[in-house]
Symmetry: C2
Subunit: 146 residues, 2 copies
DNA sequence: CGGAATACTTGACTCGTTCAAGAAAAGAGG
DNA sequence: CCTCTTTTCTTGAACGAGTCAAGTATTCCG
């Protein structure tokens, strides 16, 4: 994924190619699962004049176009990632909020066939694994052994 | 689940039995998946003097004690339900936000065994099904056929 | 019934996100 | 290359769920 790929991605989605948009995409390539604030900070390293509203707009437009995916684990602000279309899932650390990708355990569309959905037409099954990340596990063990 | 059950539940969790707490529990019995605002409104029907902060505190205490479960689908405010400990899941309507319960499709702990969790110690797998509820499906079909 | 601990009220405040209006830039067509 | 229309960005204010803090009231143990 280099800049010309990003450009094609944008044009393919009928979106204009702008410096803020390229900067947001580059930032997400470097920092998957970044929240809006982090994206804004990263963007401003290369494009200091970009407004926070522009980042919200860009992330919204990219999400609507399907170029990025928005996730929002309970208790967290919105986070974004470039990896789309492969129905992967996420592990979230209860302690520090860190997010990591998890591939599908059961198959291509795990758990998508719910037993009884009360007449809902289901189009996506999102799995969130909750637990403790390696760093927080270590910290906790170390602390309790003192 | 009557009031004396609620009372035993609270005492069993080392929580004092108070009018606001009973009112919150009754409200959740009547309206599963209610958000804080709805709970507050329902509580005030019977207990007009209860503050919004009290409802936040009560819901927090009940959640910490494991008496209620907090869910928060992306884009929604926090919602609460009395049904705990059975690892059931939820369908959420993309259009109106309505939530319904879904029992486990695969077994008791579906998808809990993620293939590769990057060293995370996973203790829960939360599944959120996204789709369209019956009411919104009907509305959409009707509108487009005009 | 009295006293310590817990729970609630009040009111201010934070922060992620959205709204609105006008200025700037992209890119199609000439 | 230039102009015009549309989209995108800037600026600045506002919203709302949730939290913080200090003081008052309630629960319930002994």
């Amino acid at each position: 994924m280099d800049d010309s790929d990003f450009e094609h991605l944008l044009r393919g989605a009928d979106l204009r190619v702008t410096r803020p948009r390229l900067a947001v995409l580059r930032s997400l390539r470097r920092h998957p699962h970044a929240d809006t604030g982090s994206v804004l900070a990263a963007v401003r390293v290369e494009e200091p004049a970009v407004s926070h509203q522009a980042v919200y707009d860009v992330l919204g437009a990219l999400t609507d176009a399907g170029l990025v995916r928005r996730i929002q684990p309970a208790g967290s602000v919105a986070r974004y990632e470039l990896r789309v279309g492969d129905n992967h899932h996420h592990v979230v650390c209860r302690s520090c909020g860190t997010v990591a990708d998890v591939d599908c355990a059961v198959g291509v569309r795990p758990c998508l066939d719910a037993s009884e959905t009360h007449g809902f037409v289901v189009d996506e099954a999102e799995v969130t694994y909750w637990g403790t990340c390696p760093a927080c596990s270590t910290a906790r063990t170390t602390a309790s052994s003192n």
